[in-house]
């Protein structure tokens, strides 16, 4: 295998990270084609026939909502008439955090800054929206078309827009879509299933209640199929021979029993494709010139990296004193049934252990113990019950342990060179 060919593999790797799904997802599932046809028809009616529409795309994170919208828009813009007519405004709830910013952004994206100028429309906002849209129309209307140009509003993170004051933006957009002549289509993208409950009554009544749900309703065999199609190289790959080798190696990879088990584990924990991408990305990053195909061991390693428990990792790096304090807290939790504790109690419990064991090795002073305790607090393994930290003395501040019983025991098993008496102390039911 020549070096050039392998380099060719690398280029799609880099691109697949963000763009691999573009041509694969929308066509690989029936339910999505059904949805996309529905959406396409809707948007086409807005773009060409001048209907005003509103629709919500709802689905969990990583279910392909934005992907669906992008594919539909791409298809739509291939039509000449739509391409000529349609104006697009993309808003994101994360960026446009209040209505003033959103208005500015709308003005900017419609290229109206010079038209609107310094005029401030504060009092009656509906008029402002209408004016904006009218302006756009007016710009165009001296020409042959008497009807106005349709505008497509895409609201990403739609639920965040519902938290704006009085939901003015949403009200106005839906109101324009209901009443004014300017045809607009409002497409909301959200991950909250209860998004309609967030809307005010007047806003809700103006919304068309058309929803597209993207719920991933596929089984494991389809999941496995996706893995295969995701990893396969397309037919128009420059080096045909290498692509064939690669695809056959992917085929054998997917048939491997251990790989299938690992994928089943991932499938059981979540069905979304982003976590799958993360897994595949970790596998692909291990490729090199000397190792041009994915081996089952790579996937198992990547799977282990994805599924490892972060808190157990952190517990592994604690010093022995901090570990002892955590065990003391665990005992306090067992005895007092989850009541909060303070440093004095923990230290007391620790001292009891030292007395019984009469091993002076861990006989630390109170300030040293406090330093360890504060380190645990910094790592947020323990958390104060009430936030006000300045009010009480540090040693009497009530804390709660943020760890599970089983997490502690597991960490103790994995701890390097854990002293036997500490281990026994942790096992014993009575502190």
């Amino acid at each position: 295998m020549s070096k050039r060919k392998v380099k060719d593999v690398h280029r799609p790797i880099g691109e697949c990270i963000t763009q691999v799904c573009i041509n694969l997802f929308s066509c690989s599932f029936d339910f999505q084609t059904h949805n996309s046809l529905h959406l396409l028809e809707l948007l086409r009616r807005s773009a060409i026939q001048g209907e005003s529409n509103s629709v919500l795309i709802v689905g969990p994170r990583g279910a392909g909502k934005t992907m669906l919208l992008q594919c539909v828009l791409r298809d739509l813009l291939q039509e000449k008439e739509a391409q000529k007519n349609l104006l697009q405004v993309h808003l994101n709830g994360l960026l446009q955090t209040d209505d003033r910013i959103a208005l500015k952004e709308i003005t900017r994206q419609l290229n109206l800054e010079n038209v609107v100028g310094d005029k401030v429309f504060v009092s009656v906002q509906t008029e402002y929206y209408e004016q904006i849209l009218e302006n756009k129309t007016a710009e165009k209307s001296p020409g042959d078309r008497s009807s106005s140009r349709p505008v497509l509003f895409v609201l990403d993170e739609f639920d965040l827009f519902a938290h704006h004051k009085n939901q003015t933006l949403l009200y106005n957009l839906f109101d324009v879509s209901q009443s004014a002549q300017t045809p607009i289509a409002v497409v909301g993208v959200t991950c909250r299933l209860d998004v309609l409950e967030l809307l005010e009554k007047r806003v809700k009544s103006r919304f068309s209640h058309r929803q597209i749900h993207l719920l991933s309703s596929f089984g494991f065999s389809e999941y496995l199929q996706t893995v295969r199609t995701q990893l396969s190289l397309p037919d128009d790959f420059p080096d045909r021979g290498f692509a064939q080798d690669w695809n056959s190696s992917v085929q054998t990879l997917c048939e491997d029993k251990s790989v299938e088990e690992a994928l089943q584990r991932h499938f059981n924990s979540s069905k979304d494709f982003r976590s799958l991408h993360m897994l595949l990305m970790l596998c692909l990053s291990r490729l090199s010139v000397s190792k041009p195909s994915i081996k089952p061991a790579d996937l198992l390693d990547a799977s282990r990296l994805c599924l490892c428990d972060a808190k157990a990792n952190m517990l592994h790096g604690l010093s022995i004193l901090e570990l002892c304090l955590i065990i003391a807290m665990k005992h306090l939790n067992d005895v007092y049934e989850g009541e909060p504790f303070n440093l004095q109690m923990v230290h007391n419990e620790f001292k009891k252990f030292l007395q019984r064991k009469s091993n002076s090795m861990y006989n630390f002073e109170q300030p040293v113990v406090m330093k360890a305790f504060e380190h645990l607090q910094q790592l947020e393994l323990i958390r104060p019950v009430d936030g006000s930290s300045a009010k009480t003395q540090r040693e009497f501040q009530l804390m709660r342990l943020m760890l599970d019983h089983s997490q502690i025991m597991e960490a103790l098993q994995k701890y390097p060179q854990c002293p036997t008496d500490v281990k026994q102390w942790a096992m014993s039911a009575f502190g």
Partner: protein, 445 residues
């Protein structure tokens, strides 16, 4: 040690230099490098790196980005008290000061993304741009939208940009409640004892042999390893105490190979260091001076916490004593302690207390002002008039943080207080006014 990092697209010579600077972190650096891919490839939108303090998170990234000359902006979230500073820093290091000056007075995320897109279209990225955020846990306290937006910045600005978050805290504590784009999680494991030894042995003193220094490090780790695994702290302690370790050698008492005698000499010294320098009781400068003075015993100098003695007026002392008694004694025992003719209380009944709930374990309890004054009048022998000065002394004790006011709702009428001093402190105070406080404390009966 030199398992060389290999990756196509980067200069071999540079990679060799990187590997030299990252002892015991080849695996992590290699993984990061493979995730970054070649410079012009897209990388994962956001990477979250967590690990303990001083496990080399910033160092590895810094060395990688610097040596390989990648386009990057390093931002410390401690410095960026407002998002404006954050945006300015990112734009400044990617596009120069012209772009940074485009930001309006109090920029929103929307402005940042707009300017970023503008600049990107003028100077498109040929390589991945990296934004490294240190101390990322502080992002949670700022604007709620900031963290989710940063995680999907690649999508928002449509540029080849990767955000790398560094934190000590696990990702589970970051996740916003409506979810977000999940970053790629990477763990930097703690250094094992052997690795610590290897790294610490690197900065040895040139006039001594390597074995000599590494045996010193071995002793140092033997004392401190059970308490502290922070590399930086250990480096500091190693540098501070080395001159003491060499002392017998310079005097000619022992040879370099006589490890046992050297150990005998240094071990008590290190134990003392744990109680002083490690807790910052004594500053490093003072510690060095103490080492120079032969006759003066290390630790004889009074540390920070030894200066607990506070000079207070006579009545303030008694007010504080009364507050301590009110905080740590249950109210039902006041009659027994402070009334001369308290009638008959059966001793067995009185002494029946729950062993588990000692007040010195649970901390101070709040008490009303009336109770404080009642105890105050009974512990002060002379007659005291409740003048304005007494009350102003109470409120000035609050401002000195010797007392804390518990409930804020009522400033004038029936305020509640807590005593916020330790037992040692109150014992010292009561000794100056010849008051035996232990006799009056319920816990010590």
């Amino acid at each position: 040690m030199t398992a060389l990092l290999k990756h196509p697209g980067y200069d071999e010579e540079k990679l060799r230099r990187v590997a030299e600077q990252l002892p015991c972190r080849e695996v992590q650096a290699g993984l990061l490098l493979s995730l970054m891919g070649e410079p012009q490839q897209y990388s994962y939108p956001s990477i979250f790196i967590y690990g303990h303090r001083a496990s080399g998170k910033s160092h590895v990234l810094h060395v990688l980005l610097k040596e390989l000359e990648l386009h990057h902006a390093t931002v410390s979230c401690v410095e960026c008290v407002s998002v404006a500073l954050l945006f300015e820093q990112v734009l400044l290091s990617f596009f120069g000061c012209d772009a940074a000056s485009l930001l309006p007075h109090s920029p929103s995320l929307s402005d940042f993304v707009r300017i970023y897109r503008q600049q990107r279209s003028q100077s498109p990225a040929k390589q991945t741009r990296y934004i490294v955020m240190e101390k990322a846990e502080l992002l949670r306290d700022s604007d709620a939208n900031l963290l989710p937006a940063l995680l999907r910045l690649q999508e928002l600005v449509e540029d080849n940009v990767t955000v790398i978050l560094l934190s000590e805290i696990v990702w589970d504590k970051f996740r916003p409640n409506t979810g977000c784009f999940e970053p790629l999680l990477l763990h930097f494991p703690d250094y094992s004892k052997g690795e610590l030894q290897q790294i610490l042995s690197q900065d040895r003193h040139p006039s001594y042999s390597a074995e000599f220094y590494s045996s010193y490090i071995n002793i140092l780790l033997g004392v401190f390893y059970s308490v502290c695994r922070d590399l930086r702290e250990l480096q500091h302690l190693a540098a501070l105490n080395f001159s003491k370790f060499c002392e017998p050698l310079e005097e000619g008492k022992v040879k370099e190979t006589d490890t046992h005698k050297l150990w005998r000499n240094i071990e008590p010294h290190l134990k003392k260091a744990m109680q002083t320098v490690y807790l910052r009781e004594v500053s490093s400068l003072q510690w060095e001076q103490m080492q120079l003075m032969e006759e003066k015993e290390a630790g004889a100098l009074r540390g920070l916490s030894a200066h607990t003695h506070v000079e207070l007026p006579f009545y303030s002392k008694f007010l504080l004593i009364a507050a301590y008694l009110a905080s740590y004694n249950p109210a039902r025992t006041d009659k027994r302690f402070f009334l001369k003719h308290h009638g008959k209380i059966r001793k067995t009944n009185f002494l029946k207390k729950n062993e588990k709930t000692s007040n010195h374990l649970l901390g101070p309890k709040p008490f009303p002002l009336d109770r404080l004054l009642a105890i105050f009048y009974s512990v002060v022998d002379s007659r005291v008039a409740p003048t304005a000065s007494i009350f102003s002394q109470i409120s000035s004790l609050v401002t000195l943080q010797l007392l804390t006011q518990v409930s804020h709702d009522d400033q004038l009428d029936a305020p509640k207080y807590k005593c916020a001093v330790s037992l040692d402190f109150i014992c010292a105070i009561s000794r100056t006014v010849n008051f035996d406080i232990v006799k009056y404390l319920y816990d010590f009966l």
